[in-house]
Amino acid sequence: MRGNHTVAEAAVRAGCRYYFGYPITPQNETPEYMAERLFKVEGGVFIQAESEIAAINMVIGASMAGARVMTSSSSPGISLKQEGISFLSALELPAVIVNMSRGSPGLGNIAPAQSDYFQATRGGGHGDYRNIVFGPSSGQELANLTFEGFDLADKYRIPVMLLGDGMLGQMMEPVEFPPEISVKKLPHKEWVLSGAKGRPSRILRSLFLDPIEEEEHNWKLMRKYEKIAREETRWESFQCDDAKMIVVAFGIGARIAKGAIKRVREEGLRVGLIRPISLWPFPSKSIKELSKKVKHFFVFELNMGQMVEDVKLALEGSGEVHFYGRPGGIIPPPMELARVISSQYYQRKLR
């Protein structure tokens, strides 16, 4: 199944009945799939909005009503959604947002790239907030994290972003979906707007003119983010036990890195991989922990170096960091990356 179809099908099976989007390559298969699929399920609503801005605000509306709701786009479109994402965060509304990113800035191109890491992990819009961001690296993981994304969005009342790229969206892979979730069995939400029937009226707002109230609101968000960082950090470690050098890569980049590591391992180089699955919260602790026995880190990204800053922050100076990136939509084969890794390995006299 194609990645862009996988995320749509997984969403419907996870109980999402509302999708609002706007066409942009390389993710058009998601709205196209949703247009057909949601028409066939009870209560399904699909709207092709007049803009990404309108789409994210429709998401806000459906989320205020308590629904599981999703939108998807790609880099320039995600920029337009950022205002709405800031509001979702401030209003504490759950939603799942998919970014099949491309080689930007500006219009850039439609080829796969990881150039939106900063935007995704730093909040992206205005204000002091974080979103949960997952960086799936396969079709299967995309399906699993879509399910998990909806659950965590509801659990913490927070937007969850799935950050993929054109390759993940277009690539076809076999997928096994988790068991379907019945919309009727989803947990009741206490805070939704439904009309003030049998209860006092309710306001969902992000305007706090009193700075004391605004500060308290921000601290409340902060406490939530701290809890998420404690409990929801996800990463994969691959062949790290005997490693003298650790590659850090995410998403499709990590897939290439794994191939490269297998090659250099055949030559006897002891190289491992840390793959952050949650890009926020970032697995800083596990990287810092590794630095007790490994001093050499190699960060690979399909951009000019963004996650590398998080790796450096995690290490707090306790390791040497080398960065290698290919921005703009070029996908280096594992062989190319293997050459760069092994050249670093020998330069550092690890062998």
């Binding site: 605000n57 205020m64 009503a65 029937k197 009226s201 306001i203």
Partner: protein, 251 residues
């Protein structure tokens, strides 16, 4: 003794903070009365976006969800699609609906969304201190059209309601004014009708209300009422701009 005048159940007991002579407090009251009379309090949800209008939720005792500047029609679309049996209305100022939110509003009308918009037109940006609005009339002085709006420099005011009347999905569009007791009553009737159109599932409905902003107009409340009648209504004539009645099937 018979009680002939009281606070509507749908208004909170909070004193209005609006400037003296402002139309918002009057309009809030009218909406509260309509909600009570149509027994809608338990099924209505309001959407106030940025501007003076956002504070409506401090006064109306109903469920309300705040929207970003200009995005109310899109947010209301999401709410209505998720809760088709509730009554969803937006409460937007002129800058919000006719400048930054033009696209969202026109497309909601074109889709025939079953939502109602109360469009408060006071010809200025009120909350930010009286800048030129898309509906500022020619010759009107604001902080960003000093010496009066000139078509060569500032362009013409936008007649959004007329544009919305052209949309095939709009069902009922009326322009009223808050500048005399009879026009206040007409405004209330128009709001009730717009809500009724939505409940009947006919299509998009909107009431544009010409509303005084004495503070930013640098006028007394009495002068403001006069100015609406003598100046504003020449650019924005009152009346029903569209009413498809029951011509469209209510499905």
């Amino acid at each position: 003794m018979k009680k002939v005048f009281t606070r509507p159940r749908s208004l909170k007991q909070t004193p209005f903070h609006y400037c003296p002579g402002c139309g918002h407090s009057l309009l809030h009251r009218l909406i509260g009365e309509v909600i009570d009379e149509m027994d809608l309090r338990e099924k209505i949800i309001g959407v106030p976006p940025a501007g003076c209008a956002v504070l409506a939720y401090n006064y109306l005792d109903i469920d309300m969800g705040e929207a970003a500047h200009g995005r109310a029609a899109a947010l209301a679309t999401g709410l209505k699609r998720a809760l088709p049996d509730r009554l969803i209305f937006t409460y937007q100022g002129d800058g919000d609906i006719a400048a930054i939110g033009t696209a969202e509003t026109i497309h909601a009308a074109a889709r025939g969304e079953k939502i109602t918009t109360i469009f408060v037109n006071n010809a200025v940006y009120g909350m930010t201190g009286g800048q030129m609005a898309p509906t500022t009339v020619l010759g009107q002085s604001t902080t960003t059209s000093p010496g009066g709006r000139k078509e060569q420099r500032d362009g013409y005011p936008i007649k959004l309601s007329e544009m919305l009347a052209l949309a095939q999905g709009s069902a009922y569009i009326e322009r009223t004014a808050l500048n005399s007791p009879s026009n206040v009553l007409k405004t209330k009737k128009a709001i009730a009708k717009a809500f009724r159109i939505q409940l009947d599932g006919v299509g998009f409905s909107l009431v544009e209300v010409l509303s005084p902003c004495p503070t930013n107009w640098r006028m007394s409340p009495v002068e403001s009422w006069k100015w609406i009648g003598e100046v504003m209504t020449t650019s924005f004539p009152l009346g029903v701009l569209k009413d498809v009645g029951d011509k469209r099937d209510a499905d």
